[in-house]
Symmetry: C2
Subunit: 119 residues, 2 copies
C-alpha cells in the first residue's frame, strides 16, 4: 500500500525516549522516528551506515575526536565503524535511516537495547 506518511502525526503516537519506531521500509532499509532526551551510550554499527535527520530540537552527536551539532533540517551520516554517542540536552525528534539489520545500540547490548516496532 503506497501511502503518504506525515512525520509529525507519527511522532504524536509515542512518547518513549530512545525507542525508535519504524515508519517505512525501502530496499534493505528502515525509516525510523525516535525521540531523544539525555545521553545515550557509546556504540558503533559494524556493517551499517546510519543517517540522523533532525526534525525538531538540537542534537549533539559526540564522536571520539570532536562534537557534531545538528539543528532542525540538518542531517549527518555516521559511517559504519565510527563510534558515536548521541546526546539531547532537551527533547529532540529525529528521523533515522539505516539497514533493517541495525540495532539501536550497535555493537553494545545492554539495558538500552530495544527492538524497533512499526507504528
Amino acid at each position: 500500500m503506497i501511502q503518504t506518511i506525515n512525520i509529525s502525526q507519527k511522532l504524536d503516537l509515542f512518547n518513549e525516549y530512545w525507542s525508535p519506531r519504524i515508519v517505512g521500509e525501502l530496499n534493505d532499509s528502515h525509516v525510523k522516528l525516535v525521540k531523544l532526551k539525555g545521553e545515550f551510550v557509546w556504540h558503533q554499527h559494524e556493517n551499517e551506515d546510519e543517517l540522523f535527520l533532525v526534525i525538531k530540537g538540537k542534537l549533539l552527536i559526540k564522536l571520539r575526536d570532536r562534537d557534531l551539532w545538528l539543528n532542525e533540517g540538518e542531517f549527518v551520516i555516521i559511517p559504519k565503524g565510527a563510534e558515536h554517542c548521541p546526546v539531547a540536552e532537551e527533547e529532540v525528534h529525529v528521523m533515522l535511516l539505516e539497514p533493517k539489520s541495525t540495532l539501536n545500540t550497535g555493537d553494545q547490548q545492554n539495558e538500552r537495547t530495544v527492538e524497533a516496532q512499526w507504528i
Copy 2:
C-alpha cells in the same frame, strides 16, 4: 569526513528543476535534493524503491490508480515497479533517498534524463 549537512543551505546552491543533486551516501544509497516545478514523465524503477520527502511546497505524485498529495514534512515510498509521475504546480523542494543505481527517469531514457552530481 563526517559532517553536518544543512538541507536548506544545500538547496540554495542550485536552481535547475528536475536535476537531483547528491548530498550524501550511506550503504548502497544516495541522499539527493531536487527542485521540482511542472510535470515530469511517467516512469518506474525496476529494481529500486524510492523515498520522496517534501522539504518545501506541495507535491502531487500521480499513480496509475490514484493521486497522492504530499505536504511539507510528509514522505512516500514508491516501491520498485510502481509507475509514478511527479507533478509540482508550484515549486517544490524534495529530499530523495534511493539506491545509487537509480536513474531519475527510471525505465525511460529521454530528454529529461540527467545524471545526478554531488554538491
